[in-house]
Every structure is written in C-alpha cells, then in structure tokens.
Symmetry: C2
Subunit: 485 residues, 2 copies
C-alpha cells in the first residue's frame, strides 16, 4: 500500500498549492494563470450606468480588499429580480423584494452589495441593517433630489450566514462608495471584484447589440456575477447584476429575466433557488434610446398596460414583438455566458463539462437526468482523473429523481470531443462498447467535454436539456479518481 499512498499524498500537495483559496475577493496577482483569460481587459459598457467599490472591512480579517460595490443607473429605471426560494430568505433578499414592490419594479436606481457577510438568519435586527444599507445609499445617490423619500436602491449580501452586518462600518464607507462611481472598464472590474467571496477571478462581461426597430442605435449590456468555491447545488450563494441601456418595459423585463435565468443560472450546477441569498437583478435604463418606445412583452395583459400620466409615462402600448424576441436571444446568451464563468471557477475545476440529455419523455425529465449526472461526485472525480468511467454516468442516470423515462435497453452515452472530431460511443442501446481507451484519454485531456445521453429510441420522445458542470478535484479524488486502475 505504500506506493499509492505516497502518490496520493503528492497529488494532494500539488493540488493544494495550485488551488488553495482564501475567503476574500481576489487580487490581480491571485488570479490563477489558467483563469486569467476569463478576465476582460476592456469592455463596452451601457450608457447611463455608473459603478464603484469601497473597502468597509466587512470581515475583520479582510484588511485590504474592497467588499462594497454599487451599480447605479444615473436615472431611475425599470428593474427585475429573481431570488432564492429558501424558506430562510436573507434580510437583503426580502428587503429588496419589498423595495421592488413599493416601487412597482420601476424607479429603481441600482443595487448596493457587500461581500463577507450574508446578513441571513439575523432576525429583525438584520432586516433593519439591510434597510439602513439601502437607505443610506439611496439618500446619497439622490442628494440632488431630496423630495424623494422612499428607497429606490436594492441591496444584496453574500458571505457568512447567521452573523450581523458591521452596519456602522458599512454605513461609514457608503459616501466613499458613491464618490467612487464611474463608467470605465476599471470601475466595472473593481466592482465585480468587490462582490467576490471564494471566487478566484472577477466575473464580468459586456457586449453590444442592435434591435430591429431601433436602426442606427448600438445598445450595450454588461453584467457581473459571483459564485462560490465549490460548484454544487444547494451550497453556493450566487449573485448577479445585469445592466442594459436598451428601453424595456418593466413587465417585459420580468419575463426576459425569468426566461434567461432558466436557460443560464438554473442550468449550471449551482442551484440558484436554494441558498439564503441567491439573487439576480436586471436593470434597463433606456439611456441609449431615451426617447424611444419601450420593448413590450408580446401578449401584454390589459392590467399591466400603463395609463398616460402614470409613473410609467414614456411607454407605449405598441408591441415590439421582433424586438422582444431579439432582446430575449441577446439576454439569454449573455446570461448563459455569465453563468458559465461560475462553472469555470468551480473549486479546483480543471474541466468545463456540458451534459446534454436528449430523447427524454419531456424537457423536465431530461433536466432531472442531466442534473443527476452533472452533480454526481463520482462522475466528476472520474472526469478529473481523466478516467472514462462511464459506468458512473449510467449510475447517475439510473437514480435521477422522477425518472419515468429510463429504459436501460434504449440508453446510449457518448463523449463529444471538444476538437470537433467524431463522437466516442461508450454505450449503445444499453450495451457497453469496446472503448478505445487511448482515444478516451485524449478526449479527456481537453479542458472542455460534452457528455451526450440519448434516453430512448422512440420518435415521440423529444425532451432535451443541457446542464453545465465542472470536475471535482478534492481529497476525495485521491480515492475515486484512481478507482478503476
């Protein structure tokens, strides 16, 4: 036993040197070389948004790194937010939802965020802290407009659960935070860094797009997100903020965000619905086309249609169906790319794995099976170990919840290589294939991999789903990565 033990030890040491993380926002120097390519060096940011950051030392041990961020529109604008379904919803989540409700998803200026403390399960005091944080920011943002009294700034927190915010320290730094606002790439990057916790790199994207009914106008969209050290459902706090200068009606904004979230943050194996603090917010300030009609949701309900002179002045009843569809496409693809960055930053992740399940009874069944594979620690350690141990994939298919559509004799599994070469068939109609282990090893050497599962031979079964995950490189790997050899 001496030899393998020593080798296991060695692997672990080299892993720890490579992947050890601390709980604090990353500095430039701390970004792992393999991840540097995911940090943009420039960007195109939406008009009328300013962002900033400051250091409030939310965690006493963080003596250096910014842990406050502010993303603000220069004018109040429509917003949408999706949040956790956890019963123990953190104070900032319930306060932000309340502010959204009071402002009718309209007239929102932005969001103030702290990392280092989640302000979750903190009782009445915690809710008061969240309100103070939002209100202080609001008051400073709106100093030229003192007659506005109700809060228009949302609040998010991420970090330790069950501890109170150091609200005095935070409040004292909000003036610095507001003074730091700006619209350069550096501002956006610093802000993205300030919301990180165990992330090894800031996650920031920006993009430009056009819309059919707005000829000659280039719109911008930018967003930042943060994940957690280990990607796994039910464990990570996920925050996301996306801003665009396109003109979008608030009802359309809500359905756009919800649709895009289902195809992005809900398709990575961080279950966006279950931590106490998960929140994704979307702001659309129309700054690139201030005098244009706003994009409406197709089939807008009469009750949602704003009257002239109401607080939604400036909108029209005109349905912009082509624009809505295009916006939906842009946002979904943008948010999917943002979500994938979280997977790229999985704890110790060396692989980006796409799990695609086809020919299921329906899409939900396909999603359940894809999720079961994507969250299986045994599958993920085998991927890390570059071991074509596809039996574990089958096992995960077999125990997927609500799996009414699993027919072992019709199940096929393949690896789709990232270099575009032919698929490698592992199982065809329930029968194991003679696998060329050298080719399997070569495919598993690549950073990206797709696992393709076909559940049925029946024509009527057309359910599909894709989930993104990473590999596992834990101490656990020292056992399970070598399981088959």
């Amino acid at each position: 036993m001496a030899a393998p033990r020593t080798s296991a030890t060695r692997r672990l040491v080299s892993l720890s040197v490579q992947h050890a993380r601390c709980y604090s926002a990353p500095t430039d120097g701390a970004i792992p070389p393999t991840k540097a390519k995911y940090v943009p060096t420039e960007g195109t940011y939406p008009k009328g948004f300013v962002v900033g950051s400051a250091h409030a030392q939310v965690k006493a041990s963080n003596t250096k790194f910014d842990d406050l961020a502010l993303i603000a529109s220069e004018i109040p604008c429509p917003a949408a937010i999706v949040t956790t379904q956890n019963h123990f919803q953190a104070a900032p989540v319930s306060i932000s939802k309340k502010i959204m409700f009071q402002q009718k998803s309209w007239n929102i200026r932005g969001v103030v965020i702290n990392s280092g403390c989640a302000n979750a399960v903190t009782g009445k005091g915690g809710r008061e802290d969240a309100i103070r944080m939002a209100k202080t920011t609001h008051d400073l943002l709106n100093k030229r407009n003192p007659n506005v009294s109700s809060i228009r700034t949302l609040v998010m927190s991420t970090g330790v659960i069950g501890q109170r915010l150091p609200i005095d320290r935070i409040e004292a730094k909000i003036p610095t935070l507001v003074e730091s606002l700006g619209n350069t790439h550096e501002h956006w990057l610093r802000s993205a860094r300030a919301i990180c916790t165990t992330d090894t790199f800031p996650k920031l994207l920006s993009r430009q797009f056009t819309l059919p009914s707005y000829p000659g106008i280039t719109f911008s969209i930018a967003g930042m997100t943060k994940g957690a050290g280990m990607i796994h459902p039910n464990m990570a706090t996920l925050l996301g903020v996306v801003c665009t200068d396109a003109p979008i009606h608030k009802t359309a904004l809500r359905t756009l965000l919800s649709t895009a979230t289902n195809s992005s943050f809900n398709r990575i194996t961080v279950d966006g619905d279950t931590s106490t603090n998960d929140s994704v917010a979307l702001f659309a300030n129309a700054a690139a086309a201030p005098n244009s009609d706003r994009i409406h949701l197709q089939g807008l309900e009469p009750k949602d249609i704003p009257r002239r002179g109401s607080s939604m002045e400036g909108e029209t009843l005109e349905k912009q169906s082509e624009d809505y569809k295009e916006m939906n496409k842009v946002l979904t693809s943008f948010m999917a790319d943002l979500a994938k960055l979280i997977v790229r930053d999985g704890e110790g992740a060396t692989k980006f794995v796409t799990v695609k399940v086809t020919k299921a009874d329906n899409n939900n069944a396909a999603h359940a099976v894809a999720n079961s594979i994507a969250t299986s620690a045994l599958v993920k350690t085998a991927l890390y170990g570059k071991d074509a141990n596809w039996g574990r994939i089958l096992c995960a298919i077999g125990y997927a919840p609500g799996h009414t559509c699993i027919r072992p004799q019709e199940t096929s599994v393949s690896f789709i290589p990232a270099d575009g070469t032919e698929e490698l068939k592992l199982l065809v109609n329930g029968e194991p294939q003679a696998v060329d282990e050298a080719r399997a090893a070569a495919i598993l050497e690549m950073e990206d991999l797709e696992i393709l599962v076909k559940l049925s031979n029946k024509e009527k079964d057309v359910g599909e789903a894709t989930v993104y995950t990473c590999d596992f490189s834990h101490e656990y790997v020292t056992i399970n990565g070598d399981y088959r050899t």
Copy 2:
C-alpha cells in the same frame, strides 16, 4: 494571502497522510489507529453458519487481499433481501432477486460476494457471469445433495461499474473459497474484510439475545457490511449480510428486514436505494432452536399461511407476537449499529453526528429536513472545522425538499453535547442566541455530536426523524472550514 494559503497547504498535507485510501480491502496494518476500536477482537456467532474468503484478484492491481467472501448456512433456510431502486440494477442484484423468487424466499443456502468489480451495466454477459458465480458456488456447497438443481446461493458484487467480472479467475477460486469455510471469529473477520472496497476497516458485529417464547435458549445474530470512501447519498455501494440462528418464518423475515432497514441503513447518509448494487440480505436458519415453531408476523395473510407438507413444512400457524416484537427490536438495534459503522468510516471522518429533527408535520417531513442537514457539505465542513456555523444548518433546513412545515419564526436549533452536559442553544424560535463560542468549541472538540432541530411550537406537530452522518474533511474544507474566521 501568503499566510492563510500556506496554512491551508499544511492542513491538506497532514490530512492526506492521515486519510489517503486505496481501492482494496484493508489489511490489519492499514486500519487507522482511531478506527481500530470498531474492529471486534472476538464475537459470538450464530449456530449453523459458516463463512470464508479467498483471493481471486478481481482487480488486476490487487495481488494480495482476499476479494471473495461466502456466507452460508449449513442447511437451506429462509432469507430476505432489500435491494437498490436504481434503474440500472446490477446483474447480481437482478439474479439474486430471481433466485429468491424461484426459491420462494426459502431454501437459501447463503451468498457469495466479490469486491473489486460491481458487474453493473454489463448487459447479457454480466447476467451470465452472475449466474455462473452463484451456480458454481451452489454446486460445490451442495455436492452431497446432487439432486438439487436450481440455484440456492445468492450473489453480490461491489466495485467498478461497467466492467465485466473476471469470471474465470473467480470460478477457479470458488473451491478454495468453499474449503475456507469455518465458524470462528477469524473466519468472520476475514470474510468481512474481503467484501471491503475503500473502507478503512472491516465492519463486523455479533450479539446474543433471548426471545420470550424460547426459555433457556440463547440466540445469536452476526452481520457484516461495507460502505464507501465517502459517505453521501447516491454514491456509495452498500452491502450488508445479517445471519441469525433464531427460527423466523420467511414472511416475518421480510417485514423484519424492511422495518429494520428503514431505521438503520436508510437513516445514514448513504442512500441505500440508489446505487446499482446496494443490497442487504438477512438469513435465519433456526439452528439454535431447530425443532421450535417459527416466529410469525402478526396478522399473517391467509395466502401466506403455508400448508402442511408444503416446502415450508415445520412452520406453524401460531402467531408469536411478543417474539416478533422482540425480534424486531433486536434486529433494528443491531442493524442500526452496523449502519453506524459505515458512518464512522466516512472518508476522512473525524466526527459522528446525529441529526435529530422534532416537531415536524409528520415523520417524512422530519426525515427530509434531517437528511438535508446531514448531507449538506457546508454543514459537514463546518463541523470538521469545529466551527459553530449554525447558519448553514438553517440554510439546509430552508431548502429541504417538500418542506411544508418550515416556519422560520418557530424553528429552534441546539447542539447536544456528547458528554451529557446541558444543550447549547443556537437559535430559539427563529432568533439567533448569544452563543458562548468557547463552549461551542469545546462541544465540537468531542468526536460525537447531536444536532437537535425543533420545527414548530404547535402541539399537533409530532413528526420526528434521526439521521446519522459524519463530517467532511476534503480539500474543500481548506476553504469552507475557515469561512467564518
């Protein structure tokens, strides 16, 4: 960042030296000193059972350790088996179920087991291998009784999924295996060792008991089990074999096993229902009271009542309700202790944690919440880090599936110290308590801990459940164990 990174590295190294495992049955020398106390040095074994082991080199890399085990009753006897619910049921599981069906849960001689290869997802060839393994053993066991043709020996396998058994090597060693049979403590211990995979110690228990209607008779029960390197639902293959010399009718045996499994193997965070191979078998050969009535299930259905002269000859219609109840108590407690050994052997486990949930709507809701806490990697790393980060417990309560009974304002959480001292209240009716961190640290220093959750203040809510789990000491710990400091 330099200091914490170095410290993380150091922890990891010491962990790896302490806990690195290999995929093979453990030797005496390899048993970690902290686990040695769980390996019995003597035992009281049931009459009429013989056990043995042999080395078939199922894994090519295992050149040394026994990987075949046989547990057999000297005479055919009633048996019961509970197996995985995974859709990709391994060949030995479906073959054993078929044999049980053919023999009407009666006339079973025992079970032949291999470690090193699960014979799962191996198609038609795999089923043929499982039959060969069972039949060869059966033929050798029954050589004095050549007129018995149908197989009476069950078969179990554990190890890699998706690979064929080296059935020729196994078959060649079955004569050695049968010759090795014996009834001493050493025989039982060797056999328990041969079924291990990444386990660090063999899991064997034996006990004596009496039954009300059998004065003057001392019965024995013995059992062995194996888990996996890491305890987590949906991942480990769990095998268990329990033998008793008490006289139990086959129908009673089935309900006894099912009841006891629900309170034992289904209460540890290895989900016995989901791997491809999970199986627990129970044999009762009546050798300690060969001429006595067999214990019946209360309320036996007429269709289950054997006719005189049938293959169930020797049984009577007499209901033995007090005996059944006592047998139920003995078996449940025995199997719970056996299951707990799997938790004690969790990968890198340093703690044995009892999660008790009370005052739920019903027992199922309580179980869902207990399971959610017991499988939360964040809770488990905090326990390893001896960090009273109870917020993570709340978070896990909040995302338990089907949690209709969660009322944050009525939820209370305490640590119950293992030394019998007063409980440490962490949350009372949704309000965080001022926690004496020094006392919390002292409680978390102890190997055993109970987490007590009360979900409601309503009198009508009496649902309860207890789940056993261990802590996590992975690379992941280097991040999450220090999360709060």
